[in-house]
């Protein structure tokens, strides 16, 4: 076995030192009765080449194995990834390192994550960003828990029903065993969170609104802030499309206390939904309440600058029973990827890409309108929007997937049963005018 370096001679010599007669002997502290008798029932081992063939066969059972036109987003976005990024992030010094507990030999990871934290705070207009979470949904659930812990009198959290449906489910999962409750804020006929409904809610520790929301609409975060201040509750906001902040006013400028976000758009492949990149940022006031790892600047014994994991007294391995979060491994390498992506596109690139996403989405919307789709909602959006489709669209849509590998929109009915025939479309910088014109022709 090419991963196992032991020769027969090595094994004999080592057994002698270990005082064991055989490899089986090493396990004598395990009662025989509980040992596996006939070996595990697993497939025969594959050589590297058999593995290549088998995995390519599996991969080819996904439509994605061919190039396809991706007109769905809903939390996973189809953006260009510059070639330098997979190269750099795959360098084994990054990829095969552990969590940087020994800072002296981990300055690469630590400086990279410190720069990541800095770029994320800048992107979101926040004071502090953590070193990453699993995804937006779990980061948002952690935000809800922070709000509930900070406001011990309340046991409810108000969540817009235009927060990504999966994220709402995760919050529910996280809250249930502690006896907390998530109450949904309904949306208006414009596809925006209903502020009047929020104002009427009592006993809530915080409010969470996603913007752009699940329909793609840009929410009025200033209005949310006003209500949160009036109620003295934490203002949490979330997002699934990080590139929106290349052009939109950032959450910090609206006074958000906590921001949860998905960073998959920042140079990370879709990979069937994971691993993505959970972003979590907060105000300085909440510094000691944030879950997850943080990298800080430090001095070494010569007075030179360096970086360390810091504020670990918040964490489980120091105050086991009191730890409020169990986050340990996070999505570090994807945070590094995002830092590389943000450094690559830079200030000029992020604005232009963001604008391009909006341009393409606007074009797609008008092309679909020309093909008989009905623009049901009016508010401004970034790169996603909802359209009501003509009756026979679903058949055409399946046909488009099979014949031309075009994924034309996400059916909203499973998420919002009242929205039969409504589809959520997304256009990114990768989709060309020609592809959109072609689609409009096909579905007209």
């Amino acid at each position: 076995m090419r991963y196992l370096p032991h020769t027969q001679e090595d094994i004999q010599k080592m057994l002698a030192v270990a005082g064991a007669g055989s490899l089986d002997d090493l396990f004598k502290t395990i009662p025989d009765a509980v040992k596996v008798k006939d070996g595990l029932n697993l497939p025969e081992p594959m050589s590297e080449w058999e593995l290549n063939d088998y995995m390519e066969k599996l991969a080819s059972e996904n439509i994605a194995c061919k190039g396809y036109t991706c007109l769905i987003g809903a939390g996973s976005y189809d953006h260009y990834i510059p070639a330098i990024i997979p190269y750099l992030v795959s360098r084994s010094e990054f990829a095969t390192a552990y969590t940087p507990y020994q800072p002296e030999v981990s300055q690469g990871t630590l400086q990279g994550i410190y720069e990541f934290q800095t770029m994320v705070t800048d992107l979101l207009g926040m004071d502090i960003a953590t070193a990453s979470h699993y995804d937006c949904g779990t980061a948002l659930a952690e935000c809800a828990l922070i709000a509930l812990r900070k406001n011990k009198k309340a046991d409810k959290i108000a969540v817009s029903d235009l927060v990504h449906p999966s994220h709402r489910e995760i919050i529910d999962t996280y809250l249930k065993p502690s006896g907390y409750e998530m109450v949904l804020i309904p949306h208006t006929k414009d596809g925006l969170t209903d502020m009047t409904a929020l104002e009427a809610m009592d006993g809530i520790a915080g409010v969470a609104v996603q913007s752009p929301n699940f329909f793609g609409h840009i929410e009025d975060l200033a209005a949310v802030k006003k209500v949160a201040d009036a109620k003295k509750i934490l203002f949490i906001t979330s997002f699934t499309e990080a590139l929106a902040w290349g052009i939109l006013k950032n959450p910090g400028s609206f006074g958000a206390d906590l921001v949860a976000g998905e960073g998959q758009s920042l140079g990370i492949a879709k990979t069937f939904g994971g691993p993505g990149l959970g972003l979590l940022a907060g105000t300085s006031k909440l510094m000691r309440d944030l879950p997850g790892r943080l990298v800080g600047r430090a001095k070494d014994s010569n007075g030179d600058d360096g970086y360390v994991l810091t504020l670990s007294t918040r964490e489980q391995h120091i105050r086991r029973e009191r730890a409020s979060s169990n986050i340990c491994s996070n999505n570090g390498l994807n945070a590094m990827t995002a830092a590389m992506y943000l450094s690559t596109i830079g200030k000029i690139g992020i604005r232009e890409i963001a604008q391009l996403n909006h341009d393409k989405a606007m074009y797609l919307k008008s092309a679909l309108a020309g093909a008989g789709f009905e623009p049901v909602f009016d508010p401004p959006f970034f790169n996603e929007f909802v359209m009501k489709a003509p009756r026979d669209f679903n058949r055409k849509r399946i046909d488009l997937i099979n014949r031309q590998c075009v994924f034309a929109g996400l059916d909203l009915a499973p998420y919002y049963p009242e929205l039969t025939d409504h589809y959520l479309f997304c256009a990114t910088e990768k989709v060309s005018k020609q592809q959109m014109d072609q689609l409009a022709k096909e579905v007209a």
Partner: protein, 474 residues
């Protein structure tokens, strides 16, 4: 050489990307909605490449040398696994493409679940948890949901002093109060001690087996029976599964629910702190509580199923870390049953070889046959005023990553070594020689240890000062 922060290398007007051309007309957003452009660094492509190449050069990875970090299982991460995960059909797959368009991904997940169920001896597996601690949380949520379903919730959970660090926090998230349980003089749990504190207010016990002393919990079956008798459940922390693959199936010991770390046992890279993946295996009794969506097979077609009324719900926006699952599955397919058994045998051989070779040099608080790791401490070095930390930092100068230090808490000044099976005898011998040389230096030249490390880019960093006045952004 020093590499400045990325923003210090920025110059107005540079851009390391070739901007996609606009083929549709510009549609400006309402200026009321737009903000200032984020002040990201402006670099050329070469600037970016050099910046991260240099950062990488300050890092130590498994490819750089032995990484004997206890309880972390820093084994070799095969490159072929990265090739598999990068295939366009996987990396390019959209999570909402629909079951029909995602059969390859679903089949892989289904088969990986079945393989993990076989390795652990459980009935069902969920791949959704995104990391080990997330798996623990999932397991605790399942225990919580089980008791809820029984009609009466419980308030406490027993956690031994030899359990992993994140266990209490995971329990707290479910509202359980942790009850500490001391291990016995042999470093393992004694059934009597469990029986004494197990009651009908206690939801169960969280056992790490092999435990964090690297010892197999020999009384595990008896302990499970005690807990079950009082209506409790047994949670197994499978982070140390690398010791027992093909030797013992935890599901057959009476454990009810167990999480695995694909990034430990199944060779996927740690990435300097993730992404990992923490699947959870359960017995039949707990299967209805697994998170949704579940992957099911009908004839030769696979589909996601969400209609599970007793499920604890969803834990990840999509299906967990699919990219990590690919790598772990590639590893299992490469190893086969015999390969995994050999893996555990050689991991245990390596640990015992180190234990026996170094027990004259370092103090060994529990001198028993160990599993995949062994725990020393600095008792013999204290007379020279040399601590575990000093020895760990000095190892850096010898070209080794230090072991885990000051964990588990049950050993004072712990020095916890897990070599893993992918280290060869020669590399281990070099490590042993280095530790011996350092122990000698502790006597003859202690200054060399207290001022270590001298070779890395920075010397010892002041973590206390950094935490007192945190600077978390540039």
């Amino acid at each position: 050489f020093n590499e400045p922060n990325v923003w210090d290398k920025s110059r107005e007007g540079r851009c390391a990307i070739s901007l996609p051309k606009a083929d549709v007309e510009r549609s400006p957003l309402d200026p009321a909605l737009t903000g200032d452009t984020p002040n990201l660094p402006q670099l050329s492509e070469l600037d970016v490449v050099r910046h991260y190449t240099r950062l990488s050069q300050w890092n130590f990875g498994v490819d750089s040398g032995m990484y004997p970090l206890g309880s972390c299982t820093m084994k070799y991460n095969p490159k072929t696994n990265e090739v598999q995960a990068a295939r366009q059909g996987f990396a390019g797959a959209h999570p909402l493409a629909g079951d029909e368009c995602s059969q390859g991904a679903l089949r892989l997940m289904y088969d990986l679940e079945r393989s993990l169920a076989e390795i652990t001896g459980f009935d069902a597996v969920t791949l959704q948890p995104a990391a080990g601690a997330h798996g623990e949380l999932t397991g605790m949520l399942i225990i919580h949901a089980y008791h809820a379903k029984q009609g009466r919730q419980r308030s406490k959970i027993i956690i031994p002093d030899t359990a992993h660090g994140t266990n209490p926090a995971s329990a707290t998230l479910c509202g359980y109060k942790s009850v500490n349980l001391k291990s016995g003089p042999k470093g393992i749990l004694e059934p009597e001690a469990v029986a004494e504190i197990m009651d009908e207010e206690t939801a169960g016990i969280m056992i790490t087996n092999p435990n964090t002393l690297g010892l197999f919990e020999e009384n595990i079956k008896e302990i499970c029976e005690i807990v079950h008798a009082k209506g409790g459940l047994v949670y197994g922390d499978g982070a140390n599964m690398n010791a027992i693959m093909g030797v013992v199936q935890p599901g057959k010991l009476g454990i009810d629910v167990l999480h695995l770390n694909l990034h430990k046992t199944f060779s996927t890279p740690h990435g300097g702190g993730g992404p990992g993946s923490g699947p959870v295996a359960v017995n039949e009794k707990l299967t209805p509580f697994l998170p949704v969506p579940r992957v099911e097979k009908e004839l030769d077609t696979f589909k996601f199923v969400t209609d599970c009324p007793d499920s604890i719900g969803r834990l990840h926006t999509f299906y967990g870390h699919f990219g990590v699952m690919i790598k772990a599955y590639a590893y299992i397919l490469t190893m086969g049953a015999q390969g995994l058994l050999d893996t555990s045998r050689l991991a245990v051989l390596n640990a015992n070889y180190i234990k026996e070779s170094l027990k004259g040099t370092l103090n060994l608080p529990y001198d028993r046959p160990c599993m995949h790791e062994c725990v020393f401490n600095d008792a013999k070095q204290q007379e020279y005023h040399i601590s575990t930390m000093d020895m760990a930092k000095r190892l850096l100068d010898y070209g080794f990553h230090p072991p885990t230090v000051y964990f588990p808490l049950v050993v004072d000044g712990a020095f916890m070594v897990e070599p893993t099976e992918t280290e060869s005898k020669e590399d281990i011998d070099q490590f042993i020689d280095a530790v011996k040389a350092i122990a000698k230096e502790a006597q003859t030249d202690p200054e060399k240890l207290t001022s270590a490390p001298v070779l890395p880019k920075v010397t010892r960093l002041d973590e206390v000062a950094a935490a007192r006045k945190p600077c978390l952004r540039g």
